[in-house]
Amino acid sequence: MRILRFVGRRLLQLIPVLLGVVVLTFLLVRVLPGDPIRSILGPNATEADADAARARFGLDQPMWKQFLDYLGGLFTGDFGTSIQSGAPVTGEMALRLGPTLELVVIAVTIAVLLAIWLGIWSARRADRFGDHTVRIFALFGNSIPEFWLGLVLILVGYAALGWFPAPSGRVDPDADLTPLTGADLVDALITGNGPAISSAAAHLVLPVLTLVIGVLAPLLRSVRASALEVLRSEAYAAAAAHGLPERTLLRGYLRRATLVRLPSLAALVFGTALGSTVLVEYVYSWQGFGQWALRGLLYRDYPVVQASVLIIAFAYVLVFLIADVVHAWLDPRVKI
């Protein structure tokens, strides 16, 4: 019940933030140089043709009216019509969001689990060889530009070893996957399509690996630091001094206490990963949200840019909200 009230209050707080994002994006795309209409008309179009097209997309209206129309649309879930494709943005976005979310969610989940495991492992061996090795490797991974790492992984995993499918698409078209959510692995699991499951999973390996390597270090650092803090805390020493067995110590006294600070960092990592998969998507021909948003921006497809920024911002704040709830659940001291 308290949780519900907390969530409700937080959702209310989101309104000004999202409204701010909406206004900022709306203005930003319009002050950017570049004309969205010219890029959809062939070079033979006249000024009259351009005006007609502008009217078609309502861009001839005064700015405040455009904004009100846009805002009104948002309340009914209508993000407008893409200037580039002429199709409703909502539908296009749905198709693009699934794959990217799938990629990021899987990658961040794996990274978080790996960070927890390695971080605790590392903290228990603090200042020994294994600890140092793990940390240095994580830092290495963190220092490679994602696009470069992606290319290297493709060169090795696909071109040289041939272990992974060609970096084009997200699932073998012959698997005949019925798209439902756009997240192919999820769709394959829902429809119980065996070949599609293995194909989608195989396509996911390298991009997920790229992202995981990229985001592991900060998570690992955080887990290790809080695990060390717990290990060196009086509370842990007290439990150890009372002769509790290793397993109880690990499960009851170390793990949960270690994780309390992780959710907000994981949310941050998720947010940045969501906003920056565009490079990974490019390298792996993963036609996802980032590529879509980038293309929208390059062609000044106003509705697309507005929608993509709003969705990412929304996902971001939502993930933070979830992180806070998880934090409250993990840490009994948190009052919400």
Binding site: G20, R221, S276, S308
Partner: protein, 285 residues
């Protein structure tokens, strides 16, 4: 009588030694990189944008230490000269972000109330804004020049500092020494400037180097998307991006050297940051 060494619950005997190694190695790398950047003209025979008329994609050795790229420019010279730009932009951008973020965080954290609410909502908006789109938009708006990139990357990073400093200030302002300063008649600005600022910078000092590395990666990403510096300016990200297909063809020298340079510098920042973090943790204990 036999002396007995007790087995510790958690070893902390060598505490700080590894941190020291990290800090030394990290700053060592950065010093070397900075020196290479400064001395670049002395260490190279070709200018960074000078075209060798005898052809492109020459293999390393002979006239060109690391060969030439697709434009016939000397890779070694470009890698060295690029350090100026990459390190410069990263450090300046983070410095700008620190200044702006700290100021906002200080005001929001100490004044509280509606100032806090308004400033933090603005920070929220900026932080919720997808990094790359913000960066792309700013660079599309301002163009890809040196200072515009500094502003872009600073804009992306400032919110994090604002949050960090605000959180710190909110704890610090409950400290007894702040009460002590108030009862000693210190003014609000005096308290912020003399007491809160120096003490709230501790976490900033740890994060900033890590952030510099991250800024370099962002810059490289922007260049990869064609939104960083314009060709033919020497910049690691754009060099890597231009050389990607060369790697596939076995011509490693156009993109591997800038890639390694980038990696090593980012690693330098990360090591330094990690070391500082560890030292800070050790101090707190």
């Amino acid at each position: 009588m036999a002396a007995i060494e007790m087995a510790p619950v958690v070893s902390s005997n060598r505490d700080g030694r590894f941190a020291k190694v990290l800090i030394y190695v990290g700053s060592g790398i950065l010093v070397v990189a900075a020196l290479a950047a400064l001395l670049a003209p002395l260490l190279t025979r070709w200018g960074p944008t000078e075209i060798d008329p005898s052809g492109t994609l020459a293999a390393p050795g002979g006239e060109h230490l690391l060969g030439t790229d697709g434009n016939g420019m000397d890779v070694w010279s470009r890698v060295l000269h690029a350090a100026r730009l990459d390190l410069g932009i990263a450090v300046l951008a983070v410095a700008l972000a620190v200044v702006v973020g700290t100021l906002l965080g200080l005001l929001a954290g100490y004044l509280g109330g509606w100032v806090d609410d308004v400033l933090m909502r603005i920070v929220d908006i900026f932080q919720a804004f997808p990094t790359f789109i913000l960066a792309l938009a700013v660079s599309a708006l301002l163009g890809g020049g040196f200072f515009n990139l500094v502003v872009t990357i600073a804009a992306v990073n400032a919110p994090a500092y604002a949050r960090l400093v605000r959180a710190e200030v909110r704890t610090l302002r409950e400290m007894q020494y702040i009460d002590a300063a108030k009862t000693s008649g210190a003014s609000t600005i005096g308290i912020m400037w003399r007491h809160l600022l120096p003490n709230s910078l501790t976490p900033v000092r740890v994060i900033a180097p890590l952030n510099c590395g991250w800024a370099m990666l962002t810059l490289a990403g922007l260049s990869f998307l064609g939104l960083g510096v314009t060709v033919p300016t020497a910049e690691w990200g754009s060099m890597i991006s231009l050389g990607t297909s060369d790697v596939v063809a076995g011509r490693w020298w156009t993109s591997v050297p800038p890639g390694l340079a980038l990696l090593v510098c980012v690693l330098g920042f990360s090591l330094l940051g990690e070391g500082l973090q560890e030292r800070a943790d050790a101090k707190r204990r």
